[in-house]
Amino acid sequence: MPLKIKIESLGIHLPEKVLTTEDLLSVCRSRPRVDLEKVTGIAQRRVAVDEYAADLAVGAARRALAMSRYAAEDLDAVVCTSISKHHRPDEFSFEPATAVLVRRAIGAKKALVFDVVNACAGLLNGIWVLQGLIRSGAIRRGMVVSGEQNMPLAWTATREVRHSLDRQLAALTLGDCGAAVIVDASPDEKHGFHWLDLVTGARHDHFCYSKPSARGKGGILITKARGLQIEGNRNFPAYLKQALDGTGWDLNDVHHIIPHQVSTRAIRQGIRAVGRFMGCDLPDVFLCHAETYGNTTTASHLLALHDFMLKGRIRSGQNVLLVSGASGIVISHATFTLDDLPERYLSHVNGGA
């Protein structure tokens, strides 16, 4: 039986400023007729003010370290998985790796550092990378961190969106957030990650992409949402079943399924696709809070974990399934059983508040 890894600590850095979908639409040069809030279910999101992607990552990394039993110098690796690398206004930074900036800020003096980028599947991809490094004995523990300042893409969309079918519309669902986890080897077989699998169906690499705008300043996010959802929903339920089978669970063993928080509508469609594939009624285990935070891309799963642990929905000892669909198209699933993380997290956040 291969060594299992577990989430030892979690840190979320949420900007304080709340921006409603109505307020975002009100600054569009050409306001789309579509009722975006009704279609996506996203009512608001957080927006970073006077801080940038690297700051969000550093903030989350510091919070994860604050509740961890490890000090920064104990970390053997820091892997940054952000897509957005807006470390300064009107700039996208490729070098140095964001992980270097995080290492410098937190003082992880001996950590191996690099960035892993795989769209919204990046964070699970980063955990998969650390799992291999830990299992091979190359490292003992590491941090995966994302600082997602996605709103610059939304601001470009407010300038460039022209109509209700505009392919930049999905950029208006984004939100900002920093998230970090520290992972290490699980001391027992019962807790930790049982299954962590990612697969890329590269034939579908054209449904979603981001690059600098050709029409003006800023970056753009182009999404062919319908095609992405159709292909995603056609293919992911089989991998979800495979994750359950590989773990030795059936749907009744799962306490919570956390999908990538794209929009409440996309999540509902995903649930229907799983129901069709399984041929049964699904238990009410899908968690969704996209209405409050929007799509925070790679930070999405950890933000949901944070939010539902604080609400008392996710508790120690429970079984969780993470589901992610990302541009590429990358389909990823992870199953894990929580140790006492929720209890420790609640006590840490409440104690620190």
């Binding site: 009107d90 410098r104 291999g132 600098p212 970056g219």
Partner: protein, 293 residues
């Protein structure tokens, strides 16, 4: 312990072409050559990592590895045989990081065959004069070596984050289509040499080797002045350090493997020989690893 080896190496050399090639074309050319020289089929590749930094149109999503996977025809459909494709960014040492983590995945029993590709192109229509470099591509197919002792030794990465500002590359988004601004300060070469001295010493010590055990050092071809100072900094005689700077300019991420390809073609790295590979990049990070052929 079994080692990970380079089963096949493919490169797309910088050369004049009638039409300018993009980063994807260079990556695919290198990947195709790599697969053609390999005993593996494309469908055997379980993980594909792209470590190239500068890409066509500065695309930042999806992973460029997805485009390469699609172009190379590596398990492009869901179900059946599967491939995971993702990007790893760490400047000039990215291919070393990718080889290191694929080695770990192989030793952990997760995968059997992995591929690392990288290509570097400044795709701007009017490139910033300080940000030009020669486009190229390189690809490695990695598997576990059937011969005891052949393959990579211990990977060592020496990061001096206090020097992070010596090398930056950003895309300025103030103008349409963005513009790559690559900035390397004058002190960078000194930082590389200091990092190289520490990384080489650590890599040799971890593998229980000395300079006399190394037949050839294959470093990133940063510049003629760097190559001139490198032997002194790492304690090797100059004739043991591969210097191709007369014909091969700095190609960033792909540099070490383009140099390795040239050294191999020159016949200096026969089976049984041992090389020391040395990469330098932003961070500032210097990576070193021994390799037994």
């Amino acid at each position: 312990m079994r080692r990970c080896r380079i089963e096949s190496l493919g490169v797309s050399l910088p050369r004049r072409r009638l039409f300018r090639w993009g980063s994807l074309q260079h990556a695919v050319e290198a990947g195709d050559r790599c697969l053609a020289a390999s005993r593996y089929k494309p469908s055997d590749v379980r993980v594909l990592v792209n470590a190239g930094v500068h890409r066509d149109e500065h695309v930042c999503e999806p992973a460029i590895a997805c485009y390469v996977q699609n172009a190379l025809g590596i398990n492009v459909d869901f179900h059946g045989r599967r491939t995971l494709a993702f990007d790893l960014l760490n400047g000039g040492v990215g291919m070393f990081n990718a080889a290191h983590l694929l080695t770990a995945q192989m030793l952990a029993g997760e995968i059997q065959v992995g591929m690392v590709v990288a290509s570097e192109v400044n795709s701007d229509r009017r490139p910033d004069p300080e940000s030009t470099f020669v486009p190229s591509g390189a690809a490695l197919l990695l598997d576990l070596s059937p011969r005891n002792g052949a393959g990579f030794g211990t990977f060592v990465f020496e990061t001096r984050e206090e020097n992070a500002d010596l090398y930056t590359s950003v895309v300025c988004l103030k103008e349409p289509r963005g513009r790559l601004l690559l900035r390397r300060r004058a002190e960078l070469e000194d930082a590389y040499l200091a990092g190289a001295a520490a990384a080489v010493s650590e890599a040799l010590s971890r593998d229980g080797l000395g300079p006399a055990d190394i037949d050839l050092v294959v470093p990133a071809q940063v510049s003629p002045s760097f190559l001139a100072r490198l032997p002194g900094a790492i304690g090797f005689p100059a004739d043991k350090v591969a210097d191709f700077t007369a014909t091969l300019p700095d190609t960033l991420t792909t540099s070490v493997f383009l140099a390795l390809d040239l050294a191999r073609a020159a016949g200096t790295l026969a089976p049984g020989k041992r090389a020391l590979l040395l990469a330098c990049g932003s961070g500032v990070t210097v990576a070193a690893v021994t390799y037994r052929f």
